[in-house]
């Protein structure tokens, strides 16, 4: 969904630039609470993985493709603030070196691919974590659903931006329908990759999954209580 230069007019690009800068500034403060000596390498790893995964376009229907956006995945693995920074670093390198996503559209891309997907993805994940049974198996499921919803959400926000600052007079209802339709399909791919990656990390190093911390804390507490009960 990398937006190239020219799709949106200058005022809209400027506005999303301000939103993106504010979002990254807040994330820089918030990420300090998520990061320490142990989690900082994981955040770096997640950023590089998202960059690599975004190179893998998978076919979606006839003549179209999609790739992982990674906002929901990063949020579940390293926390929402660090996730915003992970995806923003990826977008910066892509725009500056790979000419993937415009330079004037960088604010738009950070807004859509970092801020919207992380916010929607993390919010959905937290709600599902509360609703689903408190088991390790719930974490990849919640992550996959969160990832699925994050993609059409970003598509919807793009359409909103296009309605305000689009540079061509086209029927907006067509744009909404096509954006939502295709990105719902791409969202299935996002869900599959996210679920698979989170399930893999949960099965090897669950302690490295930020979104699983409340669950692991409860389990540790249960073990301690059982031991205390056995001792008395």
């Amino acid at each position: 969904m990398h937006v190239p230069d020219g799709f949106l007019d200058a005022p809209t690009s400027l506005a999303t630039g301000v939103v993106a800068a504010a979002g990254v500034a807040v994330a820089l403060r918030g990420a300090r609470r998520e990061l320490d000596d142990r989690t900082a390498p994981m955040a770096g790893l997640v950023a590089t993985f998202v960059f690599a995964a975004q190179m893998i376009n998978f076919p979606v229907g006839a003549g179209t493709s999609g790739h992982l956006m990674g906002g929901a995945l990063a949020a579940v693995l390293v926390g929402p603030w660090s996730a915003v920074l992970c995806v923003s670093v990826v977008l910066l390198v892509q725009a500056l070196l790979m000419a993937d996503g415009g330079i004037t559209a960088l604010g738009t891309n950070v807004t859509l691919i970092a801020l919207v997907t992380v916010t929607v993805g993390w919010a959905t994940f937290v709600v599902l974590r509360r609703v689903l049974p408190l088991r390790p198996a719930s974490v990849p499921i919640a992550a996959a659903v969160a990832a699925f919803i994050s993609v059409p959400s970003a598509a919807l926000v793009f359409t909103g931006l296009f309605a305000v600052g689009g540079q061509a007079p086209v029927d907006l209802s067509l744009v909404v329908a096509a954006m939502l339709g295709w990105h719902t399909l791409i969202g299935l791919g996002e869900a599959a990759v996210t679920g698979l990656v989170v399930a893999s990390v949960m099965s090897t190093r669950p302690d490295l999954v930020y979104g699983a911390r409340p669950l692991l804390a409860v389990r540790t507490l249960e073990i301690r209580m059982t031991r205390a009960g056995a001792a008395s």
């Binding site: 990398h2 900082a40 390498p41 770096g44 995964a53 979606v60 390198v93 415009g102 295709w182």
Partner: protein
């Protein structure tokens, strides 16, 4: 699985994706590009200011072999993201040693003995 093994495996997977698997990625336009051309605003896209970057479009200028060209660009991108992200997260994750843990304010054992 040890932490070291986990990170080594993840780095290898990442390099494999960027350096090898990316060659087999779909060449079709992505969802946004497709919708833009279908609904009639695809032509408003402008060439990026960095379109003449040596790694533009995930290819490496001067490397004719398509497989190698993509691999070099992908691995270079991974390296740069690792460098930028690593520096950023390392800086943010650093904790000033004084005042963060109660242990730091306790007297050293030998001082306590004295």
């Amino acid at each position: 699985m040890s932490r070291r093994t986990f990170f080594a495996a993840a780095v290898l997977l990442t390099l494999f994706l960027a350096g090898v698997a990316s060659y087999y990625a779909s060449e079709h336009p992505d969802g946004l590009e497709y919708v833009a051309s279908e609904t009639g605003f695809g032509d408003t896209a402008e060439e990026s200011a960095t379109a003449d970057s040596p790694l533009a479009d995930y290819t490496t200028r001067g490397v004719d072999n398509g497989r190698l060209s993509g691999a070099v660009a992908g691995v270079a991108g991974v390296g740069l993201v690792a460098l930028l992200g690593g520096a950023l997260f390392w800086t943010l994750g650093r904790r000033p040693h004084a005042g963060t843990s109660a242990g730091g304010t306790l007297p050293e054992p030998d001082q306590a003995d004295a």
